[in-house]
């Protein structure tokens, strides 16, 4: 079970990396990186549970948070081309 789960996750990682490398649009790449983060979370959760250390699940949850915040920042950059500008000003211009 451990082998099957790990193999599935690593195979998905290869696919996500291929999409991030080839992705024609910016959003393909952002989605691929976000998915790669999710796969890292799964990797940690599977490794924790199947080696008898379920407390790694807490760690996986914090990784999800980092992944989510990072994706928000990247999307903001892709939309506004800038991280520090005020939303209202960006809409007005």
């Amino acid at each position: 079970m451990y082998v099957a789960g790990m193999a599935a996750i690593v195979a998905t990682m290869f696919l996500a990396l291929a999409r991030a490398a080839n992705g024609p649009t910016v959003f393909d790449r952002i989605l691929a990186v976000n998915m790669f983060g999710t796969k890292t979370v799964l990797l940690i959760a599977v490794a924790g549970f199947l080696t008898g250390r379920p407390e790694w699940l807490d760690l996986a949850i914090v990784y999800t948070l980092v992944n989510f915040t990072g994706t928000l920042a990247v999307l903001r950059f892709a939309r506004f081309g800038n991280l520090a500008r005020d939303d209202r000003k960006a809409d007005r211009s």
Binding site: M6, V10, M13, F14, A16, L17, A20, A21, G23, V26, R29, I30, A32, V33, F36, G37, T40, L43, I44, A47, W56, L59, V62, Y63, V66, N67, T69, G70, A73, V74, F77, A78, G81, N82, L83, A84
Partner: protein, 183 residues
């Protein structure tokens, strides 16, 4: 090395090659995030969860955002340049020297390695008798090398104060925004 870690190393290598070959800098910044996540996964599998978390937060989180912030000040694409041989040779030679350096290290997970026989057995046997803290890592960090940890905290605090001063402080920014809205 277990097969999962071997596969992750392979992915890391593939990511590095793709990053070096990409001309779109936005995509390259995204892929450095992937490389950090892979390194974090490897560290977790090697039981170094604290190092892994630092790698994920700094490399994949803050690092990508900083790269993007720098990108907003420059162009999105790398200038087309012909491949130069000398830098490649230097990088390959440095990498080969580093790999040669690892040959003297004990094998991964080797229980007979020197580091497991120098201080660790004494610490494991004596810590609880000496200072009555059951968690050995906590005891070492907060008691045996307490002054070192205090120094680290002071350095981090100083860095935080420096950043706050450079940014001008929150109060000043709020008053700026207020006057701007009134005008």
């Amino acid at each position: 090395m277990p097969p999962v870690e071997l596969l992750l190393m392979l992915l890391l290598l593939a990511t590095a090659i793709v990053v070096a070959r990409l001309k779109d800098l936005f995509a390259a910044a995204m892929l450095t995030g992937i490389a950090s996540l892979l390194a974090a996964g490897l560290f977790v599998l090697m039981d170094a969860v604290d190092v892994a978390f630092t790698e994920a937060a700094v490399g994949a989180g803050v690092g990508t955002v900083l790269f993007l912030g720098a990108l907003s000040l420059t162009s999105r694409r790398e200038k087309q340049e012909r491949t130069r041989i000398l830098p490649i040779l230097i990088v390959v030679a440095t990498g080969a020297a580093l790999i040669y350096g690892t040959w003297d290290m004990p094998a991964y997970g080797d229980p007979d390695a020197v580091i497991h026989h120098h201080l660790a057995p004494d610490l494991i046997a004596e810590t609880e008798n000496k200072i009555h803290i059951p968690n050995i890592v906590t005891a070492i960090l907060a008691s045996f090398r307490g002054y070192d940890t205090l120094g680290e905290v002071v350095v981090i605090f100083t860095a935080g104060v420096g950043v706050a001063l450079l940014l001008g402080g929150l109060g000043l920014r709020r008053s700026d925004a207020g006057t701007e809205e009134e005008s």
